[in-house]
């Protein structure tokens, strides 16, 4: 001890310390096996962080080049698998933009319904998981129940719960089942209760607020420069929502608010997503009220999957069924970019067609790629523990980011 207090003693000079280099992931509870952080820690403070993605790379874009246009849909399901139908919708819209067709109004409503249900599922998963990783398992289970109920709805719509594969070029696979609107209203009533419980459990909890507030923040300018979109950008106070900025489907006619935050920290991201759940339910209720009767596919056998009845009765349907099955739809040559508002932000599909039955190129702009790339900016100098809520609010979905 006397050594330490002798005059002229310089702790930092005479004591040898070095930062700890630690590998977080891919097999780490917080990284879900899909990402690796290479951390340099000074005690508990993150000095340096390198993010390594690609652990869930399945060559989605290359795989699409070997599929007929309609055969890509099951693959899009596996992009953001917490909100599968939204990916279906985005891809279908891009392909239809390339062809130059517009689907009937009922079909547009159906796509909005499927998409918003998927967004609900995505937000429930994300917010629940964020609570879980801060140790609040009970809140997580509340939202799992809400998600299950939404999945029941989706199941009654398309038969699948996780990977919906609901949309096709030129239409959707199935119309609303009988009694869907009543079922949906019942689900929304229960989900609002669960939402209240969840919000009360966390937002009146000082521990949770302390963990989320003023962590992982990013300035508005930085967020724009790093290509943020979706809830993380809106949390910074930028009211950019593709559904409003470039309306597609029937979003232009629907009445909904775009919640924005102020500071852009994790709490704001959390609150924005929490409010978006309410807005999605609002959209769904309007859709169920206004959905018009009519066909759910374009009236053109070349671009839709004809029904068996049509194939047996109608010459043209039979020809195109044969040709589309064996050669794929011949989408005119050209290239197109179509963005939709995914659960995480702007989900863009950039399609190139050479006029053959398969895409020449199918590029996806995953919203969480841009968010993940800004991770070092958000967590450098913060505590190791702050990495967890920040990474949760970024909502890196391996399937979407790595493709």
């Amino acid at each position: 001890m006397s050594e330490l207090i002798r005059p002229g003693y310089d702790f930092h000079k005479e004591t040898h310390t070095e930062p700890m280099v630690i590998n977080m992931g891919p097999s780490h509870p917080a990284t879900h096996g899909t990402v690796r952080f290479f951390l340099t820690l000074d005690g508990e403070i993150i000095e340096q962080i390198e993010v390594e993605i690609g652990y869930l790379h399945r060559a989605f874009e290359k795989e699409c080049e070997n599929q007929f246009w309609n055969g890509v849909f099951p693959y899009t399901d596996r992009l953001d698998y917490t909100a599968a139908a939204l990916n279906n919708v985005g891809y279908a819209l891009a392909a239809e933009k390339l062809i130059g067709i517009t689907v009937p109004e009922r079909c547009q409503y159906l796509r909005v319904i499927a998409g918003e249900l998927a967004r609900l599922s995505g937000h429930y998963t994300n917010l629940g998981a964020a609570a879980l990783e801060l140790g609040a398992l009970t809140a997580f289970i509340y939202f799992v129940e809400a998600r299950e109920l939404v999945w029941d709805l989706i199941e009654s719509l398309c038969g699948a719960r996780l990977t919906h594969n609901y949309v096709r070029i030129g239409g959707v696979t199935a119309d609303l089942p009988e009694g869907f609107a009543e079922h949906a209203r019942e689900v929304f009533r229960r989900n609002r209760e669960l939402w209240d419980d969840f919000a009360k459990l966390l937002l009146k909890n000082r521990i949770f607020l302390d963990r989320m507030r003023a962590t992982g923040g990013i300035s508005r300018q930085d967020a724009i420069e790093w290509g943020f979109t979706g809830p993380c950008l809106r949390a910074c106070g930028v009211p950019y929502d593709v559904r409003r900025a470039q309306p597609y489907l029937v979003y232009g006619q629907l009445d909904f608010d775009i919640p924005v935050g102020e500071t852009g920290d994790n709490l704001d991201r959390f609150l924005v997503r929490l409010e978006e759940i309410n807005q999605s339910i609002r959209i769904l209720e309007q859709c169920l009220e206004r959905i018009p009767p009519g066909p759910i596919n374009v009236d053109n056998p070349e671009w839709r999957q004809p029904s068996k009845d049509d194939i047996h009765r109608d010459m043209e349907s039979m020809i195109f069924h044969f040709k589309n099955t064996f050669e794929g739809q011949k989408i005119p040559a050209g290239e197109v970019y179509q963005a939709i508002e995914g659960a995480n932000g702007e989900l863009g599909f950039y399609l190139v067609s050479s006029g053959a039955g398969k895409p020449l190129k199918c590029r996806v702009r995953p919203p969480c790629f841009a968010l993940t790339s800004a991770m070092p900016l958000m967590v450098k100098g913060a505590f190791l523990a702050d990495l967890i809520p920040t990474f949760d609010m970024i909502n890196l979905i391996g399937g979407e980011c790595d493709r």
């Binding site: 780490h28 609040a136 521990i207 302390d210 963990r211």
Partner: protein, 363 residues
């Protein structure tokens, strides 16, 4: 030479072991699953069974035990083998020993033999508990150090800082009680709580809240589980433990929960006493059993009341565990040093002033 004292002590030790290790450690594993299931609208563990009899999931603890006994006892390469083995022992033994000074009943005269229902009636029982529980800190820190794993090391570091800090705060929270009861012996403190208005919680409920928080922090359970924080540190200090060594940490946590509950019951909730019923009154009411029978009945009732209070506090600890999220490491420190410590000091001053002024009559 087998004396009655020896038999008495052996019986008491066996009872305490049976209560903590034999009953509460496995049953709390079940309670943890079932209570969380109830709180989360789930069914909970109900699969492990013998010939279709699942006994509401109770057999899961047995299944766990069988599974974990047969697991590979793994020591990572580069780990300090001796310390790696010693650490879980150092975690679990103090948790068991601390229970020795907690009275689980009163004093009874059976066939002319005086029975005091505490394993060791120490004059400084309270200090003994603190002394012993600080040893369990070493188990955790050594586990973190000896595992040769960075996550374990971080967990061990967090644990050392957290447990040392909260020990200070916890020690101070009970000073007011010591001033109030004028004793460090838990047996004497319990004896002085015969009158309900002398229960610790009546006057010293702020100390109860502080003590309870500190105790949960000492036990490293949610919301203070930063040392194991599974989403940050994988499993913290016991990342590299498997099989029975893991069970020892796991059991240490549960036994410590029982010890905390026992301490709270002894200090604040009147031990084995029933509110508004004196020992003499109880013996009189049971007079129909004869002098010895009344004493035996009173003893059984006393132990039952103690265990009942224990279970209430354990359920409370479980409810806290399944409601709150986890603190960040620096927030735990801030809470300990900047909130709980000053508050307990303030409570000591207040109690001192109240006793001096005669507002708080001592029992």
């Amino acid at each position: 030479m087998i004396s009655p004292e020896l038999i008495e002590t052996a019986a008491k030790i066996i009872f305490v072991f049976a209560l903590t290790l034999g009953f509460f450690a496995p049953v709390l594993g079940w309670v943890e699953r079932k209570q969380s299931a109830v709180m989360q609208d789930r069914i909970g563990a109900n699969r492990a069974g013998v010939f279709g009899f699942t006994v509401i999931g109770l057999l899961h603890s047995l299944a766990d035990a069988i599974k974990l006994v047969f697991k590979e006892d793994f020591t990572p390469r580069g780990a300090e083998k001796a310390l790696h083995t010693l650490a879980p022992v150092m975690a679990v033994i103090p948790a068991l020993i601390a229970f020795a000074v907690i009275p689980f009943g009163g004093q009874y005269t059976l066939w002319g033999h005086r029975v005091n229902l505490v394993v060791a009636d120490l004059d400084v029982g309270l200090l003994f508990v603190f002394a012993i529980s600080s040893i369990s800190t070493y188990g955790v820190v050594i586990a973190g150090w000896a595992s040769n794993n960075n996550w374990s090391l971080l967990g061990g570091l967090r644990a050392s800082a957290q447990m040392f800090s909260y020990e200070v705060a916890m020690g101070l929270t009970v000073i007011a009680l010591v001033m109030y009861y004028q004793s460090l012996s838990l047996v004497e403190i319990v004896a002085k709580q015969e009158n309900f208005w002398h229960w610790g919680i009546v006057w010293h409920w702020p100390a109860f809240l502080l003590f309870f928080s500190c105790a949960i922090a000492e036990n490293k359970r949610v919301p203070f589980d930063a040392p194991e924080a599974e989403s940050e540190l994988v499993a913290g200090y016991f990342t590299e433990y498997s099989g029975m060594k893991f069970v020892m940490f796991w059991a240490a946590e549960f036994i410590e929960m029982v010890t905390i509950a026992g301490m709270c019951v002894a200090l604040f909730l009147g031990g084995h006493h029933i509110p508004f019923v004196t020992q003499a009154g109880l013996a009189e009411a049971l007079g129909a059993f004869g002098p010895n029978g009344a004493q035996v009945a009173a003893m059984l009732i006393g132990v039952g009341v103690f265990v009942f209070k224990l279970i209430l506090l354990l359920a409370l600890q479980m409810a806290v565990r399944w409601t709150l999220p986890r603190f960040r490491y620096d927030q735990i420190m801030k809470l300990g040093w900047k909130m709980i410590l000053p508050l307990s000091l303030a409570w000591i001053s207040l109690t001192g002033a109240a006793i001096l002024a005669g507002v708080m009559p001592r029992p």
